[in-house]
Symmetry: C2
Subunit: 135 residues, 2 copies
DNA sequence: TATCTGTTATAGCTCATCTATATCAGATAA
DNA sequence: TTATCTGATATAGATGAGCTATAACAGATA
């Protein structure tokens, strides 16, 4: 299964799909230029309505992360960062980061510990696709 | 104004209040043990219904971040991390961190840049309350 | 012709969010 | 006592988000 969602989560299904795709791209499991499952196919695999998948794909398209072609389906954009940078995106992302880090701090996590987790997470993105280990 | 919200945001008002309080605590603007505005007072200041503020405070209470006393109102918990750690909280937080960092990575931010922002943000929490600069 | 793709429209259901009103108990101060 | 503050709770209604269901269309492909 390319993608797993949690029907019981408070996070909307289309948001979960979007998040999983973003993580798969960052982690190298979805290479740039590779094709995503068709809307109907993924909806069938996940046993949800295809409109929900369509909304997730449309969101990814708006974010400049994937391209959607009427005939060939959806594919990971080759260089998302080369697209038009959303105005105010960096500020928005920074604000969300601040909220998340503040939460960890209040819950008693030390700055070192938080930074360690950030580093570990980022390092996990540098791995090659799970097809083969780098020799 | 202790707290600012954005009526036009997609983020629910009660969530915004919760986030701003968490950030204020992490940043030292709300010291441990200090009192929060009363539900009705804050609602009046923000020009919203007091039920919305009540929901935000209740959420903060459930997270172990504040204490609410029927007579003395709400106050910042002295040591939130000493409370009962929510089962699975660390995993949940880690998952949200992973999503956020993956997003930045996909949008073209380098790992160094992301880590730099994390460090800067965490460092900003170490400042004293904005009353006075450290001599 | 048949089947796949994305796209669009409409409708309905459920639930979250927010507001509005009202009431209650308890503490505090004039 | 009277008035005013506090949080807590119940009910109701409006609005919109999220998800599903059904249908139809255009274009590509086999």
């Amino acid at each position: 299964m390319l993608l797993t969602i949690d029907l019981g989560s408070e996070v909307p299904l289309y948001q979960q799909i979007r998040d999983r795709v973003v993580e798969a791209i960052a982690g190298g499991d979805l290479a740039e230029g590779s094709a995503l499952p068709s809307i109907r196919q993924l909806a069938a695999d996940l046993a949800i309505n295809f409109h929900t998948v369509n909304k997730a794909y449309d969101l990814l398209r708006q974010e400049g992360i994937i391209r959607i072609n009427r005939k060939s389906g959806a594919m990971v954009r080759r260089d998302p960062s080369s697209g038009p940078p959303q105005p105010g995106y960096a500020d928005d992302w920074q604000a969300r980061l601040r909220t998340l880090l503040a939460e960890a701090t209040v819950q008693g996590m030390t700055a070192d510990e938080v930074l360690q987790r950030c580093g570990d997470t980022l390092a996990s993105f540098h791995t090659e696709p799970t097809t083969k280990e780098p020799a």
